[in-house]
Structure formats: structure tokens, C-alpha cells
């Protein structure tokens, strides 16, 4: 499996991004990129990909209003059993895709 960074870098670079940065950082960027044998664009893309992967890999968080939180809690607390339709749909899924693979063991 390719690394997260290489996955981004394998995609076409079809967008532009402009931003300002301190002159000293730009100078150091040029030196660092040259030291690694990369162009500045390659160096920045690799660094960005690494950072973005790390920051986005965390779980998505839904921000709900208090009434929505209450609705969620009440829905979960209702502890419903599978409906007849859900059971029928599960049978349909089994018929189409085969049974679920064996369950993973708890870590």
C-alpha cells in the first residue's frame, strides 16, 4: 500500500495555491529543498501531504445543537430491536453479497 504522502503526490497537480511567507522561511525552504534533491514544489507538497494526512486522519466530529444531541441520546436510549423490514433487508444483503465475514475479535 502506498504511503499517504505518495498517494497525494501520485495525483495530478492541477490546482494553484498562493500565499505569502517570511523571506527567511522562503530562503530556508529553498535550501532545505535543494538539500533533499527536490524542487520547492515537490518539497512543499510532500510536507503538506504529511501534515494534512496527520491532521485529517483524526475522527470527524459532528457539532450538534442541544436539541439534536438530545434527539440522538433519546434515539440511542430507545434501544430498538431490528424491525421486520431491517431483518428482510439483511436477508436481501446476504442474498446479494453473501454472508458477512466472521466478526473481528475484540482487541
Amino acid at each position: 500500500m502506498p504511503s499517504p504522502t505518495s498517494a497525494y503526490r501520485a495525483l495530478p497537480a492541477d490546482e494553484r495555491q498562493e500565499f505569502r511567507l517570511p523571506g527567511l522561511l522562503k530562503e530556508h525552504l529553498s535550501r532545505a529543498a535543494a538539500r533533499t534533491g527536490q524542487t520547492i514544489a515537490e518539497y512543499i507538497t510532500a510536507a503538506l501531504a504529511e501534515r494534512v494526512t496527520r491532521d485529517l486522519a483524526e475522527t470527524t466530529e459532528w457539532t450538534l445543537t442541544a436539541p439534536e444531541q438530545e434527539a440522538l441520546l433519546r434515539t440511542l436510549a430507545a434501544a430498538s430491536k431490528p424491525s421486520a423490514q431491517a431483518t428482510k433487508l439483511a436477508a436481501r444483503a446476504d442474498a446479494l453479497f453473501g454472508p458477512l465475514p466472521p466478526k473481528k475479535k475484540k482487541r
Partner: protein
């Protein structure tokens, strides 16, 4: 692609799968599978699950990713749930769902939602989680998910959940 489907088991997207011919009628859903799915899966933004035919042409797919909801402590007290150390609820987000146009109107999409829910429930038994969430793009999709036992959290948004207890 023949019109006689032979759906493979639902598995995670792999290089063997053929994506170029996939069309479900929603350009965004098609483009995601064809251009971004491998990359998003590789960077762990979401897990992409597919069913395919014998030639590995993808016939349908969905994505799952973890989602958490922060819950106000006062609300937990109000509902008699009491204090918990980490007032967050975890679940899985069914992010994208598509079925090839040739195989629509055969309950394949509904079966894929059920399989997504079952996979998420299995994952939750290992790593925790209580629900499958969706955020439908249209009101007609809200009705579609309502018919699958999803519960809408408010009229102001389209966010919906299906408790894992409701999944066989």
C-alpha cells in the same frame, strides 16, 4: 458490462477493481470513486467498500468513516445518564453511496446500506460506537433513509442516525 449481475461480496476497494465504467447518475459520486477513492482510503479519510462483478467492474460502493458527537454534560444529567469521563458518542458516517445505473431499482442500494450498517456494527464491537450516521443531500434522500429506519435529528439539518441496536 452484462445486465445479469453477479455481485461480489462487499470488500474494501483494491487496485484490482475497475472504476472507469462506474456511473450512478450523480457526477459527484462517480467522480469520487474514479478519482479520489483510492487516495482518500490510503490517507485514511474513509474506508471505501465495493461490490463488483466477475470482471471486477464496480457495481456499487459506499464509504465509512468514524464520527464523534460531543454531548453536553448537563444534557446527560437531564436525561439521567449521569457523569461520564468523556462526554462523546462515537459512530460511523456513511459518507457516499452509489449503485451503477444498470442495477438500480433492485434494492441494491438499500442492501448496501444494510451491509454498511452491519460492517460498522461489527467494527463498533471492537473499537466502540453506537450508531450509523448519514447526512443526506436532499429531502427525497431523507425520506429514503427514513424508510430504512434512520431517525432525523432535527428539521434544521438532514443529519440522521440508525442505532446499532436496530441492525440484525
Amino acid at each position: 458490462m452484462t445486465s445479469r449481475p453477479a455481485y461480489s461480496p462487499v470488500v474494501t476497494l483494491a487496485p484490482i477493481h475497475q472504476l472507469g465504467g462506474f456511473t450512478c447518475g450523480d457526477p459527484e459520486i462517480d467522480a469520487f470513486l474514479q478519482h479520489r477513492a483510492h487516495a482518500e482510503q490510503t490517507v485514511r479519510l474513509s474506508q471505501v467498500y465495493v461490490t463488483a462483478n466477475a470482471s471486477h467492474d464496480v457495481l456499487g460502493y459506499f464509504t465509512l468513516s468514524p464520527v464523534t458527537v460531543r454531548v453536553e454534560t448537563a444534557l446527560l444529567s437531564k436525561l439521567g445518564i449521569g457523569a461520564v469521563p468523556y462526554p462523546q458518542l462515537g459512530g460511523y458516517l456513511l459518507g457516499r453511496l452509489g449503485v451503477h445505473t444498470t442495477f438500480q431499482n433492485r434494492s441494491v442500494g438499500k442492501a448496501l446500506v444494510m451491509r454498511a450498517a452491519q460492517i460498522a456494527k461489527d467494527e463498533a464491537e471492537v473499537v466502540g460506537g453506537a450508531f450509523l450516521a448519514v447526512d443526506p443531500k436532499t429531502e427525497s434522500l431523507v425520506q429514503w433513509y427514513t424508510a430504512l429506519d434512520f431517525v432525523r435529528l432535527s428539521e434544521k439539518t438532514r443529519r440522521m442516525v440508525l442505532p446499532f441496536t436496530a441492525i440484525p
